[in-house]
Each structure stands twice: as structure tokens, then as C-alpha cells.
């Protein structure tokens, strides 16, 4: 499935995930490329978000979850029990569906991650906060009110704040779980624009239920159906001439 001119960063081999007796991900094997935007599409409940949560071991919080297989990020198997999960989550950032800024000031929200990493000097934090907010296309709107609570921003701004917060730890990979589904069309457009810019510095994996969004912003697309990875290809190719009939049916809206 991988192509020439494509550098693998995340290699998934034989990944299986179950919540209790429900088999959610079945034998997933594919590669995600460095500094690409990869979109996961598929009907609800087919395992897209669950896979995302494997990438930063957030599934550890679900007692009934059991995982087997290998996920290598930059050559290191992150599913091994020896993995330092805390360090992993600083390299793999996540943005959630519903914007969830902390009830702190905008500055403190963004500085949260770097502070955890031990950054103490005020000037260094100032630089990180500014560059993260710029990276999230939010700096101009909030630079004069960094002390205001993050929860006081509009929905779209809150989500961009969450993006800034996630990139403040300078991750290699940015996971986004339906980041625009709770936003209005204007904010959605701004965030999509942002994602196109983000891929210069980060590998972006985005789960979306909106196929048009996948078509607009992603380089590669993976189609999940009932826990199986049905098709994974360059976005342009998948949407114009999909190889699998199921993909074709989903894209043309025959089910969804």
C-alpha cells in the first residue's frame, strides 16, 4: 500500500483491539507517512477513533480494552509494556472532538505541556506560547488577552487553542479526532486551512466522518469498516477510482 517517495513514520502490523468481547479492530496492517495528512473515514463505530487512541495509548484508560500487535513509531514499538507512555504522549499529541481547554488562562493552557516537560524559564515559555499560538493561527486574535480564561473563547477559537496546546510540546505526530465536528462552517474552514499548514512540521492523522473534508485536506485516506481496514491509498486516487467495492459504495453514499 505504501508508495515510492513515501517515508514511513508509523508502521502498524497485525493490530487487534477488543473492548471486552467486542472485537473492534481486526488485524490492521498499514504504514503512515512522515509529514503527511492521513484521514480515517468510515461509518460510526467502525474503529477509527479506537485506532487513534492506540497511537497514544489512551486506550490504557479503558479497563476492558485489550490490544495485540505492533505499532512502531520511528522504529519503536509503542505497544510494548516497556514503553514510557508519558514520554510517548509528549511526542504524539491529540486534539479532541469537543474543544476542552482547561479552566485556566490562554497562556497557562498552552504552557501546560511544556511546563510538564520541565521548562521553567518565563522567557522560554513566552516564546513557546507565542510560536504555538502562531502555529495554530490564533496568535493575532488573543495576543493581547493571554491572561483571559481559555473557556471564554468562541468554539472555533477554543479548538485552535487546543491545537496550540497540543503542538506546544513539539510532538512528531498530531492526532485529531473529528476536530471540526463540533464547529460551525466558518471555524471548520479555518481549522482545515490550519491543518494544511500543520503538515509542514507534523504528521497529522485525522479521523473524520465528513468525506468531503477528507478529500479536501488529506494526502492519504484509510477507509475503515466494521473494524477492518478496507482500503488505504492516496486520497486523490481513492476518491476517483477506489479499488474496493465497499469503498466505492461508502464514498458514493450508498450507506454511511
Amino acid at each position: 500500500m505504501a508508495e515510492n517517495g513515501f517515508e514511513t513514520q508509523i508502521r502498524t502490523i497485525g493490530l487487534n483491539l477488543s473492548y471486552g468481547t467486542t472485537h473492534v479492530l481486526k488485524d490492521i496492517t498499514f504504514d503512515i507517512g512522515r509529514k503527511t495528512v492521513t484521514a480515517f473515514i468510515g461509518p460510526s463505530g467502525c474503529g477509527k477513533s479506537s485506532y487513534l487512541r492506540c497511537l497514544n495509548r489512551m486506550n490504557d484508560f479503558i479497563p476492558s480494552a485489550s490490544v495485540s500487535g505492533i505499532i512502531e513509531i520511528d522504529g519503536e514499538n509503542i505497544l510494548s509494556p516497556a514503553t514510557d507512555v508519558i514520554a510517548l504522549r509528549r511526542r504524539v499529541g491529540m486534539v479532541f472532538q469537543k474543544p476542552n481547554p482547561f479552566p485556566m488562562s490562554i497562556y497557562e493552557n498552552v504552557a501546560y505541556g511544556p511546563r510538564l516537560n520541565g521548562v521553567k524559564s518565563r522567557s522560554e515559555l513566552d516564546d513557546i506560547v507565542e510560536s504555538s499560538l502562531r502555529g495554530a493561527a490564533l496568535w493575532d486574535e488573543v495576543k493581547s488577552k493571554l491572561g483571559r480564561p481559555g473557556t471564554g473563547l468562541s468554539g472555533g477559537q477554543q479548538q485552535r487553542l487546543c491545537i496550540a496546546r497540543a503542538i506546544a510540546t513539539q510532538p512528531d505526530v498530531l492526532l485529531m479526532d473529528e476536530p471540526t465536528s463540533a464547529l460551525d462552517p466558518m471555524s471548520t474552514a479555518r481549522v482545515e486551512e490550519l491543518i494544511r499548514d500543520l503538515k509542514v512540521d507534523y504528521t497529522v492523522v485525522i479521523v473524520t466522518h465528513n468525506m468531503q473534508q477528507a478529500a479536501r485536506i488529506s494526502d492519504y485516506t484509510a477507509f475503515f469498516l466494521l473494524g477492518d481496514l478496507v482500503e488505504y491509498d492516496r486520497t486523490a486516487r481513492m476518491f476517483t477510482s477506489p479499488s474496493d467495492k465497499r469503498t466505492e459504495d461508502y464514498i458514493s453514499g450508498r450507506f454511511g
Binding site: M58, I86, A87, R89, F102, P103, G113, A166
Partner: protein, 287 residues
């Protein structure tokens, strides 16, 4: 037709009964407060609050018992808050279905039902006798602390549970450990609710008499407590003493009612503050 009529009149009758219940409550409250005010109003003044009792407690003010009550509350919170908040934290963030959790839940629930005089017996045998602190502020304060533990635990647990899961998720996703998440995100969010719970507990503790009767409350102390090992006067106990052992009934009467009014003001005042803050917090987050 007859049956319907009967049903309707039963309904009206019962509605009347219920309205009576409701108004009865309001009326009783109003009457009691009014009566207390009428009896004790003459005595209330700044001097009343700042002068100690004198002349065998038939004159003067209530400074010593008032200060004593504040000191008792302070000591009790010193022990109850750390233990109570930690326990509430345990229930909210760390508990599972293991043996520690179940035993702890049962214990806290049982403690909540233990009569206050039993806490007095406990305090007597442990702090006064066994640990040899004697009858003093420390013993009485610690006893009150034990008494208020279940209240603080319940309030803290609710406060921590009320913090939205979203915040924790975001913190974990940024690579924070569980403890870092608790300290930096959960606790600050829950702090105001915990304080509200503490305020409500303070209201309850300030009015308790039985646990301090033989662990540290003094019938009369000429000065304010010099150390935690001195006996203290306390407002509720002072009221009891005035009622049962006073030498001059007529002179003492307004002082009794004045002291009661001050105690009610403290207890209902702090409780009302707590209730109001709690309502404000609820409407603010109102998710």
C-alpha cells in the same frame, strides 16, 4: 358521577393538608426566630461580643466562649480537611472495587451515623486519657475533627467527581501523569466546591455540644486559652451552662438568648454562605 366527585374532593382535601404542612414549616421557623430575637435583642451589642462573662456569668458578654468556639473549629478543620479531602480524592480518582474501597465506603457511611456523644466518649478515652492530653482544646478539637470527617469526605468526593472528564483527557493526552493531572487540573477545579463543603461542615461543628462536654469544654475559664492544652469555653456549652446552672435567672435570661442568637447567627450564617456559594457554582458550570 358520584365517584368522580369523591375523588375530586379527596384531592382538594389532601392538597389542603399538604399546603398546611408547608405553611406550618414556614410559620414555625418565623415564630421561633422572632421569639428568640424578642428575648435576646436587648443584650446584643459590640460589648456583648467583646467582653468576657463576669460576675459568675450573670453579666458581661460572651467573648471567651466565642473565641473558644472559633479555636475549636480551627483545630477540628486542621485534622478533618487533610484526611477528608484525601479520602474524597481516593474515592473519586483511585478507587476500584477492591477491599480497601469497600471497607472505606462502609466506614465513612457508618461514621456519619455515629451519635455525637459517642464521639465524645471516643475522644475522652483516646485523646484525654490514653494520649494524656487531658481535657483541653486539643482533645476537644480533635474529637470534633473526627466527627466532621464524613461530611468533608462526601463534599470532597462530589467536588472531584464534578470535574469534567474532558479536562483529565486533555491533560493525559499532553503526557501528564495521573498525579500531575490531579494537582494541576482536577484539584484547582474542585477547590471552590471543597471549600463550600468545608464551610457547611464548620457550621455544623460550631453548634456541637456533646462531643466537647467532657473532652475540653470548660464550665468557666477566666482567660482565653493560652495553649492547645488549656481548657476552652465554647458557645454551645456556655448556653447549656447558663440554662442549667445559673444563679440569677432573671439577669441571665437576656444573656442566654443573646448567646443563642449569636450561635444561630454563626451556624446559620456560615451555612447560608455555603449554600449560596454552592448554588452560584452550580449555575456557573451548569453543564
Amino acid at each position: 358521577m358520584n365517584r368522580t366527585l369523591m375523588r375530586k374532593s379527596t384531592n382538594s382535601f389532601m392538597t389542603l393538608i399538604f399546603w398546611t404542612c408547608g405553611l406550618f414549616l414556614a410559620a414555625v421557623l418565623v415564630f421561633v426566630i422572632a421569639y428568640l430575637f424578642k428575648q435576646g435583642w436587648s443584650v446584643l451589642s459590640i460589648e456583648f461580643l467583646t467582653e468576657p462573662p463576669s460576675e459568675g456569668m450573670t453579666a458581661g458578654g460572651i467573648l471567651t466562649p466565642l473565641v473558644g468556639t472559633v479555636e475549636l473549629v480551627f483545630v477540628s478543620m486542621l485534622i478533618a480537611l487533610p484526611v477528608g479531602v484525601a479520602t474524597g480524592l481516593y474515592f473519586a480518582e483511585y478507587s476500584n472495587d477492591g477491599i480497601l474501597t469497600r471497607l472505606l465506603r462502609v466506614s465513612i457511611r457508618l461514621l456519619a451515623g455515629v451519635p455525637s456523644v459517642i464521639f465524645g466518649l471516643f475522644g475522652l478515652s483516646l485523646f484525654v486519657v490514653l494520649m494524656n492530653f487531658g481535657s483541653c482544646l486539643l482533645s476537644a478539637g480533635l474529637t470534633l475533627g473526627c466527627l466532621s470527617l464524613p461530611l468533608i469526605v462526601t463534599a470532597s468526593e462530589q467536588a472531584f467527581l464534578a470535574v469534567p472528564q474532558d479536562y483529565r483527557d486533555a491533560s493525559f493526552a499532553l503526557g501528564a501523569t495521573k498525579w500531575q493531572t490531579i494537582v494541576k487540573v482536577v484539584f484547582p477545579s474542585a477547590a471552590s466546591t471543597i471549600i463550600t463543603g468545608a464551610i457547611l461542615s464548620i457550621g455544623r461543628v460550631a453548634g456541637e455540644t456533646a462531643p466537647i462536654m467532657f473532652t475540653g469544654a470548660a464550665y468557666f475559664a477566666p482567660d482565653l486559652a493560652k495553649s492547645v492544652f488549656s481548657q476552652v469555653m465554647a458557645l454551645p456549652y456556655h448556653i447549656y451552662v447558663l440554662a442549667t446552672a445559673s444563679t440569677d435567672i432573671e439577669a441571665v435570661r437576656p444573656i442566654q438568648y443573646g448567646a443563642i442568637l449569636v450561635l444561630i447567627a454563626i451556624v446559620l450564617g456560615t451555612s447560608a454562605v455555603g449554600v449560596v456559594i454552592r448554588a452560584r457554582l452550580a449555575s456557573k458550570s451548569g453543564r
